[in-house]
Subunit: 221 residues, 2 copies
């Protein structure tokens, strides 16, 4: 194998191990064994576990950012739901590693890992704005979108801890949560109200937002 | 000064400095100068910056947890709003240190600091349940409360980054957000619907929840 090919193989093996267990618990020996090479050879490609972890995290974060990409066609609620499904696919595939990363700690809380997390959050934020047709977000919209992204992260983390609510329910709940947070903001801000009206204008009567609205009205009556 | 008194004084001085700037940027020399003692004397009381940081964080986290305490009297929305005000007071007082801590990183992401953050989150969670009159939370309620706590954290962090929305607006918005997240969950779950009805039953017609509801109805018409 060539140098780059070997590096990529090692990253793949490491990512698989770091995804299945907390990175604290994964040793270089184990990575070497899984890759079918010697421990010194691992160190030939990566100076230490942290650099290999960072490389694996970089690949995972690019993978996740790619899953946010969604054609700008059709109603917004359905688009968002497809992205949430792919987000939960990712969380499902990388569960223990995702949980360890998002909970921070000495093995995973380096400046480089935090920069990667921030880059993914920023990619998610920019995707959302582009689906909303917004270039420069006013402060209240930025707050709604960014705080909803953090809500999606925490919802996924809470789900991983015991999986006591079906993930399909949470995927749609997060779409609804976005609408709910936007509605709360819109109730007190004219610009947000105008944006919300634009958002729901093209929602079909059998879509997730109309369904929520119908149920909320039933709940209130 | 006695040993314990001196330790407590140092913790206070350190907490003040760690609150005003990112802990990365605060040196032991600076803490010594601010406390009016020599650098070696600081090391006499604390083996290093991390142990002093952890002691300061422990004091701050106890302070924050105490601010969650709210008498279980009167409507829930008003109680929650008072707690949100005290939470933003805390965030305001400790801004840069709070931001650095919550964003993680090498200087602040130790297991001990993460355990302190988790303890504060757990205190917030238990306070919420006790105000809701719940001992054992079903999974969907746990999800709503815990994810809302994380929403409060991220809202505060986004606010600190430029303070472009008045904090009073965000304090009440978070009360509304809790109601909104609970309503989304209630729309699809009978137990949550029963709980929501109990929650809003005692809300006054001039309270924050009734105000939101009125505005949402106006928005929809």
């Amino acid at each position: 194998m060539g140098v780059e090919e070997r590096r990529q193989q090692l990253i793949g093996v490491a990512l698989d191990l770091f995804s299945r267990r907390s990175p604290d618990e994964v040793s270089i020996d184990e990575i070497a064994t899984a890759a079918g090479i010697s421990r010194p050879l691992v160190y030939h490609y990566f100076p230490g576990k942290l650099s290999l972890y960072e490389a694996a995290l970089k690949r995972a974060s690019e993978d996740l950012a790619n899953r946010f990409a969604e054609p700008q066609e059709g109603p917004l609620g359905a688009r968002l739901l497809r992205v949430m499904r792919r987000f939960f696919d990712f969380v499902d595939e990388h569960g223990p590693g995702f949980a360890a990363l998002m909970r921070g700690g000495p093995a995973v809380g380096s400046s480089a890992t935090n920069a990667l997390i921030d880059a993914v959050r920023q990619a998610a934020y920019e995707q959302m704005l582009s689906h909303l047709g917004i270039v420069e977000a006013p402060p209240r919209l930025e707050l709604v979108v960014r705080s909803w992204i953090s809500l999606a992260e925490s919802t996924a983390l809470i789900w991983l801890n015991g999986r006591r609510v079906p993930r399909a329910e949470l995927e749609i709940q997060l779409v609804h949560d976005f609408a709910a947070l936007a509605a709360v903001s819109a109730a007190y801000d004219e610009d947000m109200a105008a944006l919300l009206k634009k958002m729901v204008k093209d929602e079909p009567t059998d879509g997730p937002l109309a369904d929520l609205l119908g149920r909320l009205i039933a709940l209130g009556s």
